[in-house]
């Protein structure tokens, strides 16, 4: 046991001291948070940027419509002087083409921000479709404001035709409000709720893969350095494998603790702790540990037969494909945690840790027997995978040259 610990400690220190680990541990989450923060901030900033007053001409606008539009703009300009819009009527029904050319010229020189004209197929009522001619075609915030103003003005004209005031109309079409809430927690539903299970799953995923990936590289390093024979003269292959997996599990725990802690801190800062509390930490740790052991057994098997990372990558392909399944299905599983597909997948060992974490966070009640059975099956899967990996490990670790095919590896597993 003390030998296994010595291997684990070396593995842990060796990884923790590398720059790549520090980068993954601290810089990555900081970078992701920073990126999200900066992009939302930048978008918001560009949308809030004040433009003073923008001048928009209305070519051949119907008179009542134009009046309503100006009134709507005045209301807007009083409320938000930084984003003012000034309309200018241009009436040239006989010579529309010439007027249009003059307007285009003014848009080009910058005297006008743009001009509105009825779209060619517009109906006679009040012009339901308009064309906005501008050089700043990507200014979405302005387009949105303009569309709002046009719609409001149009509605106004239509309502007046029915002798209704805007206030009367608004009262008539008042929508019904519907709030979704969880009767157990008393919490209102939010979009974030949908993402929490995904975040928990990602935590399992990154913790397990981040550290099991380290297992692969460190095994390959030991093989290509030829240290492995020296180690095997002091340790049994099982001790070596167990020590490595233990060391990397500790690394994974460090990652999950730091990332999870940062997530918890962020959630409490944002007042969203109720989202975090939907996951039972005991279950989380259980599925994480079992999932990690399962994956690291696979990685230990692969790592032991490969001499370079390139070789490992091609052998990792089928494993990666399997692991991608929960990634692709997370949305479905969160929304239908008790559907047959979700339940079935959660009972198949490689998927269990990911799918079960998703299901348990989904907020719906998961039958306890499923939690129990999934754990028993996963634990059995871990034992099986470890047993097979140990078999492959003890043969593969001393193999140099061409890596074996999957069929050969399967044959090793059946060796006595």
């Amino acid at each position: 046991m003390s030998k296994i610990l010595a291997v684990a400690v070396r593995e842990y220190l060796d990884t923790v001291k590398t720059k790549a680990f520090l980068f993954g541990l601290l810089v990555m989450p900081a970078l992701i948070t920073g990126l999200i923060f900066v992009t939302t901030r930048l978008t918001k900033q560009s949308e809030e940027k004040e433009w003073g007053t923008r001048k928009v001409a209305v070519l051949n606008g119907e008179r009542r419509f134009y009046a309503a539009l100006v009134e709507r703009a005045t209301l807007n300009n009083e409320e938000d002087p930084g984003h003012s819009v000034a309309f200018e009527p241009v009436q040239a029904p006989e010579d529309a083409e010439a007027a249009r050319s003059r307007l285009i010229e003014r848009v080009r020189t910058g005297a006008l921000f743009g001009f509105l004209e009825p779209a060619p197929a517009a109906s006679a009522v009040a012009g339901e479709s308009y064309l906005f001619n501008t050089l700043q075609t990507r200014e979405r915030a302005f387009t949105r404001l303009l569309r709002q103003m046009l719609s409001d003005a149009c509605r106004r004209v239509r309502l007046e035709a029915h002798n209704l005031s805007a206030a009367e109309f608004a009262a008539l079409i008042q929508p019904v409000d519907l709030v979704t809430q969880n009767p157990v927690t008393g919490q209102e539903a939010s979009k974030a709720e949908l993402f929490t299970p995904m975040i928990f799953m990602m935590l399992v995923f990154m913790g397990a893969f981040g550290s099991a990936g380290g297992l692969l590289t460190s095994l390959i390093e030991e093989k290509s350095n030829r240290v492995v024979e020296v180690l095997l003269s002091a340790l049994s292959p099982m001790q070596l494998m167990a020590g490595k997996i233990l060391g990397l599990a500790t690394i994974g725990f460090t990652l999950v603790l730091v990332w999870g802690g940062a997530g918890y801190a962020a959630a409490s800062y944002k007042g969203m702790l109720h989202l975090v509390r939907i996951m039972n930490p005991g279950y989380f740790v259980l599925y994480y540990v079992l999932g990690f052991l399962f994956i690291s057994a696979l990685f230990a098997g692969v790592g032991s037969v490969c001499n370079t990372l390139n070789e490992a990558q091609s052998l990792m392909m089928p494993i990666n494909l399997v692991i991608m399944v929960p990634m692709m299905l997370w949305f479905y599983v969160v929304q239908s945690p008790n559907a047959i597909l979700s339940v079935t997948l959660s009972l198949i060992p490689p998927f269990t840790p990911f799918i079960m974490v998703l299901r348990l966070c989904s907020g719906e009640a998961i039958p306890f027997w499923q939690v129990l059975v999934s754990n028993v099956l996963l634990a059995a899967g871990v034992v099986g995978a470890m047993w097979a990996a140990a078999k492959v490990f003890r043969i593969g670790i001393l193999m140099y040259g061409k890596p074996p095919s999957l069929a050969e590896i399967a044959r090793w597993v059946t060796y006595r």
Partner: protein, 299 residues
């Protein structure tokens, strides 16, 4: 007592039989040499002894135990393919290997000091392995093998890639180890070192034992029955003597090969009667000759 016994040990890889019903006994406290051409099965045998791989058939006893697993801490192994963690510091790597060899931690510091001193690497304790020259890495590897102060030391081609100075250092360390009553097994295909160091020898080829025993035993068995002769006078009569099979002339002497079962003393008398004998030497076969002779005969 024997430090190591192998009985009918066989190891097969997919298509080749690397070791074929090999039996041997290594007495405790001796230096035992594994000789054989490349691919003879030396490394495979040593790996089985170390419990790194397991035999398909046969039994072995290492330090009295049926498998190396139970006595790994009392064994030291220097593999043919040397390797250490390149990024680790010299002191750290010896500490790590000491711990997994089961050296008590309170003793380890002193041992590291002693072994670094022995292999002349004391000043390099806090340097990374990759900063060391190749020769230094070899010496560090040797110190790493010795850190557990094993009762049975197994060295696979220990002299490969060493310069003459380090070869001498290594030989000295091996003999020093033997003086402490420990057992050393090493494999080599360099016969001179084997001749110099070994009490017992084993020659294997294609996984099978060709011959084993002490150097004297092996020599007596493969004595070529020839005599080196230098004498004044006419030696033309030599080929016609009944006990002589043939005569080979060299620059300064004649090599006289005796017929089967003939005594060299008869030749000496015949020579003394007719000439003045200046040199009469019964030629001892060198290990090199025996090796080549046996391997060729085997193939």
């Amino acid at each position: 007592m024997n430090a190591l016994e192998l009985e009918q040990v066989t190891k097969r890889f997919t298509t080749v039989t690397a070791v074929d019903e090999l039996s041997l006994a290594v007495p405790a406290g001796c230096v035992y040499g594994f000789l054989g051409p490349n691919g003879a099965g030396k490394t495979t045998t040593l790996r089985m002894v170390m419990g790194i791989i397991y035999p398909d058939a046969g039994t072995l006893r290492v330090l009295g135990s049926p498998s190396a697993d139970a006595v790994k801490d009392r064994l030291g192994y220097l593999p043919e393919e040397r390797g250490l963690y390149r990024k680790m510091k010299v002191g750290e790597i010896l500490y790590y290997l000491g711990v997994i060899k089961g050296v008590p931690r309170n003793e380890l510091r002193a041992r590291i000091d002693r072994w670094l001193d022995t292999v002349e690497l004391s000043g390099w304790r806090n340097r990374r392995v990759e900063e060391l020259s190749k020769g230094m890495q070899q010496k560090l590897q040797f110190a790493a093998t010795m850190i557990g102060e094993p009762e049975l030391l197994i060295l696979d081609e220990p002299f490969g890639g060493l310069d003459p100075l380090n070869v001498d250092l290594m030989i000295e360390l091996i003999l020093d180890f033997k003086r402490q009553g420990r057992t050393i097994i090493f494999s080599t295909h360099v016969m001179e070192q084997a001749e110099k160091l070994c009490d017992y020898l084993l020659l294997i080829n294609k996984g099978r034992k060709v011959v084993d025993g002490t150097l004297a035993q092996i020599r007596s068995r493969y004595e070529t029955q020839s005599v080196l002769v230098e004498a004044d006078g006419d030696l033309e009569f030599l080929p016609s003597l009944p006990m002589v099979a043939r005569v080979q002339a060299n620059a300064h002497h004649l090599e006289v090969v005796l017929s089967n079962g003939q005594d060299s003393q008869g030749l000496l008398r015949a020579l003394a009667e007719r000439t003045h004998v200046r040199r009469f030497e019964i030629k001892l076969p060198s290990l090199h000759d025996i090796f080549i002779h046996l391997v060729k005969e085997d193939t």
